[in-house]
């Protein structure tokens, strides 16, 4: 669906990117409601001690996501 296959799961702490789409419809509706809108910026804050879940900022607030969920969000940066 997106040529560039990079997702939020591939980001490193401190990195910022633009959301371009989702690869899983079921989770996408939930992510959209939480403010993960295509075209908005997402910032990768830090990960939990075992690398999962991760903490990101989007639409002006902080959220935690599991890696499984983060890798659904395609990004451009």
């Amino acid at each position: 669906m997106v040529a560039n296959n990079k997702t939020v799961a591939d980001m490193i702490p401190g990195e910022t990117a633009i959301i371009v789409g989702f690869s899983d419809e079921e989770i996408a509706v939930k992510l959209l409601e939480m403010g993960f809108l295509p075209g908005t910026a997402v910032r990768f804050n830090f990960t939990a001690p075992f690398g999962d879940p991760v903490c990101v900022s989007v639409s002006g607030y902080d959220l935690s996501l599991r890696k499984d969920e983060a890798c659904v969000i395609s990004i451009l940066n």
Binding site: L32, E33, N45, C55, S64
Partner: protein, 704 residues
Amino acid sequence: MSATTKIKVALAGKPNSGKSSLFNQLTGLNQKVGNFPGVTVDKRTGIAELDEFTNAEILDLPGTYSLYPRSLDEKIVAEVFADRKGVHFPDKVVLVADTTNLKNCFLLLTQLIDLKIPTILALNMVDVAAKSGMSIDIKVLASLFDVPVVFINARKGQGIEKLKKMLLQPLKASDKKIFAIAKEIMPAVEMVKVELGLSSDYEAYQFLQQKDHYQFLSDQQRKFIKELGIQHNVFPGKYQGAETILRYGFIQEVLNKIVIRSANPEWNKRSHQLDKIFTHKIGGYLIFFSVLFLIFQSIFTMAQIPMDFIDSSFANLANYLSKNLPEGPLFEMIAQGIVPGIGGIVIFIPQIAILFAFIAILEETGYMARVVFLMDKIMRQFGLNGKSVVPLMSGWACAIPAILATRTIENWKDRLITIFVIPFMSCSARLPVFAILVALIVPDDYVLGVFNLQGIALMGLYLLGFLAAILSAWVMKIILKSKERSFLIMEMPSYRMPKWSNVGYTIVEKTKAFVFEAGKVILAISIILWVLASYGPSDEMNKAKEVVHAQHPELKVSHDEFNNEVAAYKLEHSYAGIIGKGIEPVIRPLGYDWKIGIALITSFAAREVFVGTIATIYSLGSTEEQSTIKKRLQNEINPETGGPRFTPAVGFSLLIFYTFAMQCASTLAVVKRETKGWKWPIIQLVYMTTLAYVFALITFQILS
């Protein structure tokens, strides 16, 4: 007094928006927690006096981001707003929005506007937003959404009077239409609207999407909508993504017009710095385990004084009643069945209150979200979820509020596993049993100078219970199959100081839940068990005094010791005694005799009853004084071996049994309600009892 009118007001908004603070501000202590019919979601309602003629019934809805539900709690919100004829449908809605995070709060608002529900927008945490450098144009905001807007500070109680005045004014639904429904399904929307007599297109559209969530629909209506959906190729979730994007588009336009100056991104820096500490890969866990240790310590030390006081008060009351009430079975039941039964419930209140005080503080500060974040990966290995941590912790105080706390877990399988393993966490009712047995068989010595052996044994038992919980969860993870996906998309709120009155309300609420949920079952069963333990085949019971007199001619009739012997004789020949003897062959391999058998049976209502039963059966009267019981048990002789009855083997076998066994009727009742059927409580009872039996058997056989 003049006649008062009553209006129904619902508070809606996303989690952490300050809804509960506002609810507490509006209603004070005039609140109660009930259940929505058919489901087990807490329904918090309260009365707010708007003026001398008008009261508002305030309904605090569970926090939700939109009308599309993810968890059980959120389903209720969708249903309340859809069922216009329902008792909960509000006259007016107050949408509480966190001003520091408006975008997300407005999603639900736009849906309410499309549903044509009269709504007031209450902007909360304006002070925090102002500190961050953000300012907004409230007039433009009100006109863009066509809803009245009020600034409030729910924590400090500012703006509440203004909100009350607004609630008194007539309120019309907003004229805005934000979401345009896709043309291809408009025919279906029209048909639903006509058939069910709905007022707006969006309402009909919601019915098409969410028919399965609406319990209030008749089968016929649901079938009608379902067939229509199939005809027009509408399935749940099909348009949801597009709807959300469209709504956020509108919201962004609004934000562009109302935000005069946006927040300085630096303002949240402190929260991020704290996160570096609290979610550090080593420090984070150290802090978490220190917090756990602190809670643990507090439960046991701080609760001790009030618990001792309650214990002796109820014992004195029961004694007083026994001596002063006229004779007769009814009065005996009051003095020996009902009063101690109520005492057995009240005694746990201090521990439960302390535990929930801590949990409320951790939640208020935002730290709990970090605990979920830290523990999620680990818990998932065992089929649990980061959100299982709080319920499992609560299990140390009492399984009942713990099981109620699992409602925030969205995924059914995760939630079921959490409920299933919670009773393994050593609750406060196990403590009296543990305490007496440990004191009996473990020497009060120190190793390495500092570690008390009894303390180590006690800690070991708690650890054992925890391991049983974790490993059982892991087994269930493998056995249970679920198509539902587990996810953890959770807001990480900024750190802040707890609001103490909210902590207070939580304590009151949880304690009430325990007293009324667990209380009624414990009380009912204690009465049944009292009957079983006080009555038996009548000639045996009537002969009690003569037989004891013949056996112990040296004791004076009416002497305490004589009465204790009579009580023990009666218990032996009561129905409970008969059952105890009946199960003796089954429990003999565990090292137990019929006397312990009786205690196993009577402690089924609640574990701590074990101690009282043991006291009676060894003819100690109604004393629960530990040292007395301990001495008596130490001197008890096993007639078969000639040695002591309570050998370390028997003691450890009992400890293991009580660590694993279900032995709690109220937990079973709550599990039945939460899982909507007898299937899970029965599996749980069989599983835990089997585990307890097998491990107690192994323990006894190895040690003896």
